[in-house]
């Protein structure tokens, strides 16, 4: 697009009501881009050190998730607060193991009810591919078919150290993301 044409397109967009929303969206994007440089680092820094996980247990990896919030592994020092809150205030969902056909709609419902931005960790072999239960009639082959996953933590069940490493990887990822 030549720079001289820009003004004429803007006026045409304002006149046409169907394109008005697109214009507003573009203005919003421009605002985000403008904020990203000076404030993006600070906003992401705030998000990294206050990840609130939802307390939704899907299967047996919840035992190791519980051990990770216990006194020996103590995930709170990495900014992961213990999972005892409402999902309306959460921004992290740790899929703790196998997702069955009955649990899958609930998991999606919980994910949809969480406010943006939200991050997903798939914990355990079952959440990644179906794992040991790949040939069972009631188990989904991996959770990424229903919700988008940021970090995969392998193991059956993963040791708490592995879970902590996964959350640190997620924090690295958030640091590099542009703010939304």
């Amino acid at each position: 697009m030549r720079s001289g044409d820009r003004d004429s397109i803007m006026i045409k967009d304002l006149v046409n009501p169907t394109n008005f929303n697109i214009l507003v969206g573009k203005l919003g994007d421009a605002l985000t881009r403008a904020l990203d440089q000076p404030l993006g680092y600070a906003i992401n820094w705030g998000r990294i050190w206050s990840l609130w996980p939802v307390h939704l247990e899907t299967a047996c990896c919840s035992v190791e998730f519980g051990a990770a919030s216990g006194p020996r592994y103590d995930v709170e020092r990495f900014g992961i607060i213990e999972a005892f809150g409402s999902l309306r205030q959460c921004d992290l969902i740790v899929v703790q193991g196998t997702v069955t056909r009955k649990m899958a709609p609930r998991l999606r419902m919980v994910y949809d009810q969480m406010p943006d931005p939200k991050y997903v960790i798939a914990m355990g072999a079952c959440a990644i591919t179906g794992g040991l239960y790949i040939d069972s009639y009631n188990v989904l082959p991996g959770v990424d078919g229903i919700i988008p996953v940021d970090v995969y933590v392998p193991g059956c069940p993963p040791r708490p150290e592995t879970l902590i490493q996964g959350t640190m990887l997620l924090q690295e990822k958030i640091k590099r993301l542009k703010i939304r």
Binding site: C60, A67, T98, K102, M103, S136
Partner: protein, 386 residues
């Protein structure tokens, strides 16, 4: 009253849109779980009339993974890793009765040292399970110290089991014919030191949790399950023993070397939530005595596992064996048609039996008593769903 009725009829005649309040309108339906801090992988619907629960409908099956069907297309040895997943923090006990049932089918004799190591791992795992249960019970009642202390002490038992079996929670240690490997060097001293430390800690638990006036107020006299009702509902394990019935599979049908061990059945007669939360604690104390005896009586050397063919199989037949797990009697019913794969496997778990008492206990109690009743039933949803 007649006056009111008359007025109501008059308003109806006037054509006003007024609807009389019925009994149903006063009730509020609440759904507890699966996204709930305390319910775990389980959902139950309750209806409350003011403060009192009038209806309860348990809805298990969120973690139903078809274990019993999966058993049919794996052979007897391949079945072990996935059979311990329903209760990974009590994994030695759930494979214990499976191994016993397969041994009965294939007529395998376990060496004496193997039997002792098996019982030792089983008792250590009972501590790990009960401590996890106690931690969740504590945090569910809002007692944060009782989450941190058992979780911390549990890691020490996990360290012992890790030295013994090589894995933190999923051991796959019991196999048909014995155990996978021998105890490591210096294990006995380490185990005795840990048990001595843990017995000191148990008295501290009693002071801070069981003698806590807040805890006693919330649990004493709550959720009464009388002796007759406990038998009628078919509950098992600590819930049954809390109702005044001294039943323990280790005493009633001694398996392996449990008839050589001297221990008492721990039971209480008060039948309430407090009794149901105290009996597992007493079991932990008794378990410490059992661990000491096992370490003393264990033969110094010998085989730990019987030699098996690569695909063990027995003649066509069936077998049923049960053990006392952390939640009660845990049995396996296996039918074999003579091939290396089982024809049918039925897992009879303690959690499912105890869950059946939940609607019975909740109806008529207050909503605030729901947490203390629910977790006192010693229920683990993943195991009940299988």
């Amino acid at each position: 009253m007649d006056n009111l009725e008359q007025k109501f009829n008059e308003t109806i005649k006037m054509g006003l849109d007024i609807v009389k309040e019925t009994e149903e309108d006063r009730l509020m339906t609440l759904s507890v779980g699966p996204q709930h801090p305390g319910s775990g992988h389980f959902r139950f619907t309750i209806k409350v009339d003011g403060d009192y629960i009038v209806y309860c409908d348990p809805d298990p099956g969120y973690v139903h993974r078809g274990e019993e069907k999966m058993c049919e297309y794996r052979n007897f040895i391949q079945n072990i890793p996935h059979l311990e997943r329903p209760i990974i923090h009590d994994s030695t006990n759930i494979t214990y009765s499976y191994s016993l049932a397969v041994e009965e089918l294939a007529n395998i004799q376990v060496p004496l040292r193997g039997q002792y190591i098996r019982a030792l791992a089983s008792e250590l795992n009972r501590q790990v399970y009960t401590l996890y249960w106690l931690a969740i019970y504590g945090i569910f009642l809002g007692h944060s110290t009782m989450f941190m202390w058992p979780m911390g002490d549990r890691e020490l038992f996990i360290d012992l089991l890790e030295a013994l079996t090589g894995a933190r929670v999923t051991h796959a240690f019991n196999i048909p014919g014995g155990v996978r490997n021998d105890v490591p060097e210096g294990f006995k001293d380490r185990c005795l030191r840990q048990v001595a430390y843990f017995e000191k800690r148990l008295t501290e638990y009693e002071d801070i949790f069981y003698n806590n006036p807040l805890f006693r107020q919330r649990t004493e006299g709550v959720g009464i399950l009388t002796k007759d009702n406990a038998i009628k509902l078919g509950v098992t394990g600590s819930v049954l023993r809390a109702s005044g019935i001294p039943f323990d599979v280790r005493k009633a049908e001694p398996y392996d070397i449990y008839n050589e061990i001297d221990f008492k059945i721990q039971y209480m007669k008060t039948c309430d939530s407090f009794a149901r939360s105290t009996v597992p604690f007493l079991d932990m104390k008794e378990s410490c005595h059992i661990i000491r005896q096992l370490l003393d009586k264990m033969p110094k050397s010998g085989e730990v596992r019987a030699k098996l063919q690569p695909n063990p199989k027995g003649p066509p037949g069936e077998s049923y064996k049960r053990v006392e797990s952390g939640r009660g009697a845990l049995g396996y019913y296996i039918v074999s048609d003579g091939t290396p794969k089982p024809y049918r496997v039925k897992i009879s778990v303690g959690s499912f039996r105890n869950m059946l008492a939940l609607p019975f206990l909740l109806i008529g109690s207050k909503l605030a008593d729901m947490p203390s009743i629910y977790w006192s039933l010693n229920y683990w949803p993943v195991e009940a769903d299988r």
